[in-house]
């Protein structure tokens, strides 16, 4: 399936998240527009005879009507201009199609930087809202907010904004997939979906498994719908069909024990790993081993199926170094329920 088509499927699976963000933006556009109307500079601007509708224009004097509320509508020109700019920024986000939630990474570029760029671009919704709020309350700083309207990345977001974080779909070459760098973004209700192209490490997202984060590696775009339903942060990688990647889910909402939360559907052979870009075979092996050990915890409950054999089927051999490491890592992650 071409990448373009897969991205569309991902976007439709994420519809719930997109809608949430979009309707907040739509509402903000209305709010700022209404504010602009209310604060329209009264000097010399004749009232709009249609403002109250066609009936009113025949039986009312719109000028007198508007005059009732004229005195409290003044705003200094600078604040008004800022309000206009904020409106423009919000309106252009409102008008953009769902492709605005997609960021593409060229070969060799940094995944982290691309995610920051994408979120910074979408975060302009928050930046513009902040500018509008400051301007309408007269608390803006002269020339102090222009940046907010072009780039407003996650570190600038507050808790409420992180709770409404825009989802981001990243088209990424497999060789760029250094997932550990994404941890800093997994906060609030952030959803990240990596649409992986070409050769890729088999289990890169294992590094992101922490107690509150929904982590999914899959080859089925429909699987991603669960991200939209999940309340907390979530990250997913969509691999091409037939790729050798592992498929698993870590779902914090599935239960309190790791056994309930981990489901490994597919765990590939470890034998023939090769470096992908700058990601060494050892790093890949490390991730796979970690997944294997997590899957064994999952396998304690017989729910974790494996389509691909031996790695998942073994019992707990905690003498192996990878398992010891895994156990240590998990302890660090504060998963006290490992047992």
């Amino acid at each position: 399936m071409p990448s373009e088509q897969r991205v569309d499927l991902v976007l439709s699976a994420l519809q719930g998240s997109l809608e949430g963000f979009r309707s907040a933006v739509a509402r903000a556009v209305d709010e700022v527009r209404a504010e602009l109307e209310r604060r329209r500079q009264p000097a010399g601007v004749p009232p709009d005879p249609q403002a109250l509708g066609a009936l009113a224009s025949r039986i009312m004097d719109p000028g007198r009507f508007a005059g009732l509320f004229a005195e409290d509508s003044l705003l200094d020109p600078e604040a008004y201009a800022l309000l206009e700019q904020a409106h423009e920024a919000l309106a252009s986000l409102d008008a953009a199609d769902d492709r605005m939630f997609v960021e593409s990474i060229p070969e060799g570029a940094s995944l982290r930087d691309a995610v920051e760029a994408g979120l910074g671009r979408l975060g302009v919704a928050f930046g513009a809202a902040r500018v509008a709020e400051l301007a309408r309350e007269g608390r803006h700083r002269t020339n102090g907010h222009a940046g907010h309207l072009s780039h407003f990345p996650p570190p600038s977001w507050n808790r409420a904004e992180r709770g409404l974080a825009p989802p981001l779909v990243v088209e990424t070459p497999g060789a760029t997939l250094r997932a550990g760098a994404l941890a800093e973004f997994l906060d609030g209700a952030q959803k990240l979906v990596l649409v992986v192209q070409g050769a890729a490490p088999p289990a890169p997202l294992v590094r992101l498994i922490t107690p509150g984060v929904l982590v999914v590696q899959t080859k089925e775009p429909e699987e991603l719908g669960r991200l939209a339903d999940f309340e907390g942060p979530a990250v997913a990688a969509l691999f091409p069909e037939g790729s050798g990647a592992a498929c698993f889910t870590h779902d914090p909402s599935a239960g309190t024990g790791l056994a309930e939360r981990m489901a490994v559907e597919e765990l590939p052979e470890v034998s023939d790993l090769r470096p992908v870009g700058a990601i060494s075979a050892a790093q890949q092996a490390e991730e796979l081993a970690q997944l294997a050990s997590l899957s064994r915890v999952g396998a304690a409950a017989p729910a974790a199926p494996s389509t691909n054999g031996h790695a998942a089927s073994g019992g707990g051999d905690s003498a192996r170094p990878a398992d010891r490491l895994a156990a240590w890592l998990l302890r660090q992650a504060n998963l006290r329920d490992l047992g």
Partner: protein, 321 residues
């Protein structure tokens, strides 16, 4: 939070706040000393602090009667409506603003007499809110008239030879309504139980109906005197999905484990509660969080003015000639 109402502009200046009891305090309450309303008010304020509900995102709606003054004494938004009609107002608030925390406070006459029609339907709508029926078995504000929950034979100004009919049982009534999802009873003179019941009600998603037994210091003190003095007159319904207060069973020794998911049994327990010889049962009679919640079912996407104008133009084209 509802996407229909969250404002990016407001969010942008939101800071992490924490709330103290003072944040929920309004002007000093003027109820009579000894009125059970004081106790419910204090428990509500503690609940708000415990759950850290933003005062501006919380609305208490009331009807008329002594309980009607309830919102006036809180630091939240309030709507002191008309007699018997707190529930439609509260439904309107929640339907339009699912992001708000909604509480409806009613008296016994308010809820079960003049507002009985709304009560039935509010239970069925199962809109996400807490509904408190402050039941002192009498019309207090208007000076001692019979209410639907006045015990048979009790003398009032409108039925001076004793109330004619057996009192209405609000628990069986509520439990009989299709789609009821939370029915509990508590008593104003056991603050820990009251508190725990309010918490369970608040945390329930759906219409949480709580009957609070309470004394009117002027007119119905005698009705409750035995139950207040003698813990044997109380039976606690306990369950991990209901109300459990550590240590309370040391005072109230009648404890009955009751799984609130069992509707048939809940109805039986409630029916027995009509019997004046029977201990008063306090706790969660019934809870089913899977019942349809009206404001969730009715949630609609938010549309911008521009989108609406575009849709409207399309609709007008359908009528074009």
């Amino acid at each position: 939070m509802s996407t229909a109402t969250c404002s990016l502009l407001r969010m942008s200046v939101e800071e992490d706040r924490s709330f103290e009891l003072d944040d929920y305090a309004g002007p000093v309450a003027r109820w009579c000393p000894g009125c059970g309303d004081h106790s419910v008010l204090a428990a509500s304020q503690r609940l708000l602090r415990e759950e850290q509900l933003a005062p501006e995102k919380t609305v208490f709606v009331s009807g008329i009667g002594c309980s009607g003054r309830f919102p006036h004494h809180l630091g939240t938004y309030g709507f002191h409506g008309i007699h018997g009609r707190a529930l439609p107002l509260a439904t309107g608030v929640k339907l339009h603003r699912p992001d708000l925390n909604v509480f409806a406070v009613m008296g016994d006459g308010d809820c079960a007499s003049i507002g009985a029609g709304h009560w039935v339907h509010a239970v069925r709508y199962n809109t996400d809110m807490v509904a408190l029926m402050l039941d002192n078995h009498i019309y207090g504000l208007t000076k001692k008239q019979t209410s639907p929950t006045t015990p048979q034979g009790y003398r009032t100004n409108t039925q001076p030879h004793g109330s004619f009919l057996p009192s209405l049982n609000p628990l069986t009534a509520t439990l009989g309504i299709t789609n009821a999802s939370f029915v509990a009873q508590t008593a104003e003179w056991i603050p820990q139980h009251l508190q725990a019941t309010l918490r369970a009600a608040y945390r329930h998603r759906g219409f949480a109906f709580v009957r609070v037994l309470q004394r009117c210091p002027h007119y119905t003190l005698s009705m409750f005197i035995d139950a207040v003095r003698d813990p044997d007159k109380i039976e606690l319904l306990v369950h991990e999905d209901g109300v459990q207060v550590d240590g309370l069973e040391k005072i109230y020794e009648h404890v009955r484990p009751h799984d609130p998911s069992d509707l048939d049994f809940a109805r039986r327990l409630a029916e027995e509660d009509s019997d004046p010889e029977h201990p008063i049962r306090l706790g969660v009679f019934f809870r089913d969080p899977s019942r349809a919640v009206y404001d969730v079912i009715r949630r609609v996407p938010s549309r911008s003015a521009g989108e609406k104008v575009e849709l409207l133009n399309r609709e007008l084209d359908r009528h074009a000639i």
